[in-house]
Symmetry: C2
Subunit: 763 residues, 2 copies
Amino acid sequence: MGNGYVGARTPRREDARLLTGKSRYVASVRLPGMAYAHVVRSPVAHGRLLGCDTKAARAVEGVLDVILPADAAGLRLPCVNVMPGQLMTSYPVLDDAVRYVGQPLAVVVAETPQAARDAADLLDLDLDELPAVVGAERALSDDAPLLHPDLGSNVLFDFVMGDDDCAAAVEGAEHVVEMTFRMGRVSPYPLEPRGVVASYASYAGDELTVHLSSQAPHHAREHLAEALGLSHDRVRVVSRDTGGGFGAKEHLYPDETLACLAAIRLGRPVSWSEPPGDRLFATLPARQAVHRGRLALDGDGRFVAMDVDVLGDLGAHPSNVGGSTFAVTATLLPGPYRFDRFAVRVRGVVTTTTPTGSYRGFGQPEAALTRERLIDEAARRLGLDPVELRLRNMLRPDELPYTTRVFQTYDSGDYPRALRTLRDLVRPVEKDDGRRRGVGYSCHVESTGMGPSMDMKAINAAAGGYETAILRMEQDGSVVVSSGVVSMGQGIETALAQIAADRVGVPIERVRVVLGDTATTPYSSIGAVASRSLAVGGGALVRAAVRLRDRLLALAAHRLEADAGDLEIADGSVRVQGDPRASLTLRDLATSAWRGWDLPEGFAPGLEERVSYDPEGYTFAYGAHAAAVAVDPETGAVEVERYWVVNDAGVLVNPTVVEGQLTGGVAQGIGQALTEEIGYTDDGQPIAEYLPPTTREVPGIEVVLMETPSPLTPGGMKGVGEAGTIGPPAAIANAVAAALPEIAAQVTDVPLTPAVVWSLLRA
Amino acid sequence: MGNGYVGARTPRREDARLLTGKSRYVASVRLPGMAYAHVVRSPVAHGRLLGCDTKAARAVEGVLDVILPADAAGLRLPCVNVMPGQLMTSYPVLDDAVRYVGQPLAVVVAETPQAARDAADLLDLDLDELPAVVGAERALSDDAPLLHPDLGSNVLFDFVMGDDDCAAAVEGAEHVVEMTFRMGRVSPYPLEPRGVVASYASYAGDELTVHLSSQAPHHAREHLAEALGLSHDRVRVVSRDTGGGFGAKEHLYPDETLACLAAIRLGRPVSWSEPPGDRLFATLPARQAVHRGRLALDGDGRFVAMDVDVLGDLGAHPSNVGGSTFAVTATLLPGPYRFDRFAVRVRGVVTTTTPTGSYRGFGQPEAALTRERLIDEAARRLGLDPVELRLRNMLRPDELPYTTRVFQTYDSGDYPRALRTLRDLVRPVEKDDGRRRGVGYSCHVESTGMGPSMDMKAINAAAGGYETAILRMEQDGSVVVSSGVVSMGQGIETALAQIAADRVGVPIERVRVVLGDTATTPYSSIGAVASRSLAVGGGALVRAAVRLRDRLLALAAHRLEADAGDLEIADGSVRVQGDPRASLTLRDLATSAWRGWDLPEGFAPGLEERVSYDPEGYTFAYGAHAAAVAVDPETGAVEVERYWVVNDAGVLVNPTVVEGQLTGGVAQGIGQALTEEIGYTDDGQPIAEYLPPTTREVPGIEVVLMETPSPLTPGGMKGVGEAGTIGPPAAIANAVAAALPEIAAQVTDVPLTPAVVWSLLRA
């Protein structure tokens, strides 16, 4: 099977428009009569909105509406993934109970964005302030104020997974390494800010059309309909180009929901775009957690047991994804290793900070940091080579499929080969410039291809979900692919076109890919998240393509009076192999199929396949990363000088796209490891200083791709969208620890800013 | 089956927007950067465009482009229905050979409509004029100029159907009535003029989006793609509300195609709307034909044979539908009667007039006029009652299904009962005001539900075609219907909603109907023509609804551990009959289906059915009409004083809609009978005087509905959209002949204008 498109370095077709200013972002949507919304946010971390005088605001010329909490009573957004025992499963879109700086308190709608902002400044908010609660550990303390007094606790869920006797195994082991890790709060930073244009037609057949920068338009559609009390069939969400998501745009936010409410109230289209200054506290951040981990080894360096206490900071309330990032951390903590016993406790607590949500990697960089740092520290204490210690405990290919003690079934791969390949790549930097140098490694197994569909009442991280592909051959032989996944710059359009061209047997130029519109694409309950677009969406497409091809061949066999097995598709025709005269053009066959002319018995008219693929289980990619760092002992500044990645994401559809995904992910991981963090003052004010890495902070990254097909997914693909982000915090922290053995045991927190490293060195 | 919606007089849901100015016509589409096209038309009937000086036009401020025939070389539109032996199967969109007044010769595109018109006036057309050819009989004469010299003839096709020995049977019969009928050229007159807004995005993934006032958006999409050399997958046609079509908008015209070409050339959206003054020569007219007919009877008044020579005026070249109206005339000429022998010859000739096309009734009013006038004239000559003569020769219900001698298989009905019912309704007007009065009858069988799909290389009128319905239940239990048919004011949206609500078992308010967008609706090769939307599109929906309901019940049976046969759908739930506690809401079931949760073995996720219905054959509606007229002998003016219709269109989905369709159709038929005609001067200039009937010319119309289900279509529906137009010319002409027996044999032509009647009376 295949015509050479799968595996080829096909140029990304979306770049033609993305790089020439012709992309279809929400901000380019201009509708007649469009008004502009401005969201007014809380300046305090905790308190109560006692009242709001809107008179001066309403008097501003061009102001059309002011929406206060009372106007949005009952408007709630749900937590999609509810953890066992979770106390709160939805939250109000607009609330007079204030729990974080940046929480929406009101919306002003006006003829121009300027008028809306001007009027917003004149709203007189009467706020009764309460003490802030910053940090998950603070939220646990007995004297911490309760954020949701009716719930009776700041701990919204608390559950354990794994072996009951794990603690005993740890405590009875020969060696135990115990460390506590703190992961900073990081913020996704897409090039296109969040935005929405909502329009509502209020005749019989009321219809809300929402242009939304989203990774999950079907998901947004459901939640908008439910929140606004609209029939699902009357809501359409369009997300044609999403200018980056990184997880931030899988959520439906209060802001976007309120813009839709404004459009319904006003009967005019309403546009809202996140002001740049709002991003750090209005776009959901992620990753803030404290892990207390113990790794137990026997005298031979064998991993006897591991237990981890994951304390997750939910922010003010559970976001759409609730605590599921922390649960994913838990399920991926074992990584590519064998443990006799394993256990994890997961708690989610509320603090007076912005709710935390999804971010590329979704709990997995945190899992890797804790595990891989514990391993390096164990190697240091036992005097073993860290790579050798890893290899000694690593699952071998012949052990797969392998189910971990937290119920993840790794499907395929060769983890030791990845690490050995990596070791062979690594070339430490040798230079005498007064800086101290070290190399660090990290390995991970990554859950991708989210599935199967099941009613997740319990332990697992997220509801899985199938994908559906619609594949049509038009009467002229051109091919249209439609899928519920979303194009957000990751190259999925190109990859799906490659699969369709390859499997059907047409030139890729004849394949069109339609994504990002609930009116024209099949349902996707999840969207373009969790590195699943290619594995699940592409898997469905593989199946659809096989069926479409079979139908074409059956039709040709009927028309040519030949056996379908003797036919091949080439050069725009179906022909009998070895008999070039016996052939029919695809145009002829497709016209016949669509017109219903001369079809075989039982052959329904048309040439369109609609196939769902519901995975039996997750598929698991994996990777091994290494970083070479130089630390300036005078300033504490860490430079990543070299970076190596070995990654296996199953069948490679487009190696160039895969390398791009890995490289971009590593850059984000370096940011998390070294510079990026949203800090808070003790009274809950976010510190507006955020430093994503630039090309100066990101070295050249050497990538080697392995290719172990997934036995689960049609086509054998696994996901790769998040892989690059998982390894860097662990590899870089290990490299810093290797460079500075005297403080190695204290290298536990990310980001490792100059101030952090300098303080450790000075202590 | 059924929840009472089918058969109910449900208010038309589309009226809420159509009557409140919220309809979505093409003229309401406003796109950023939109330019305006003006089509420049030939002022002469025949000749050659030798050149065109565009300098002055291009100098007008705001002019963006001028398109001449050389710029559109190779751009051709096809004849969809090609008659046997037809000489010409496509025509150029822009041609320097001029063959009718109004033929497009150039397009001017400018920033404003006014600038485009002003510039158009400055185009200097250098035209070499040739002699005109007006009238099909003139085109046949030996000295007539050839319009297409390369074809060698003005006769583009000439074929016969029926019995070879028919002429002999006629000539050997006891009584033969021979008459020649001339049908005037009439013009469809939709409330929304033709119009288009085309926009072209020219990045990788080039896409032409065309808002088009059309009855057949998928059909238009194919022909636009082929004409413009675009891949089908890159063309989208949107026709959300079409403000009346009457057949005129099943064609893709040169005007609309040129607007698309202009949008591609310019890289900006281009709007074109037909100026009111252009309609009579730019929107395709119809019905111009000359019939020479002979009806042969034996001594008992039995119909021995009938033969007819149909001479059709194609205008300058075959339109999209070519000569198929004349072929439909031929196949429907036998009507509801038995003939031992039957034959018809059909010729299509070209003249220097606007090409003729589709018009509501599509050849059938012409067939009825010829047949029913011959019958009345025979009755008059034989001294028989015209109704009795009809009943004597009419097919009885027990003779159906019955295949005529021109291969039409009438499926079901009771033709004599319709005529008897009509006779009982008729109450002649008795008044002594100096006018002469008469009552006339006409009966017809009408071909509806166009199908089956087959490659029409030969005799039949038009390619048939299946329809596909997509029926989805959303997670909240709301239902979406999508179909390739088009809403053009005929009520199909309401009828499809009734069927879906009835068959699935949900309130009609929960059903949404999506039509008129090639991106969101299933393929329809034909569109909303030929009274087929309900019979074929609705038939597909019935099948989809049965499947959706079965799937719901299967899922509920699995979940409730019940037998599907014991379940019923009511009040938003599926419940076990007799056990009100054992039930599941549709919301619960639909959510489970879409999420893929707890499904029976082999049950694919989702709750969407996509079903095609490809009719085994046409279904045949029928009707009987009667008119009471008063003729003023001083002026020749004919007034229709009363009008009665008995119609059987199979199962009635919405009697109010059916009555509305019949009443509107009769009004159009009265126009054709008495007032409407596009005349031409001898040099081919159209006479710009056109008189559609007003409420003063249309009396109250009494409608009685019969209901014989079609045994062919799922749901038993037949078509009714055109029925009203078929009877009036014949019934009114018969009434005039009855009122004026001294000139009865000369009452042959429509329209029967005062001048025509006065001239007959004076002769």
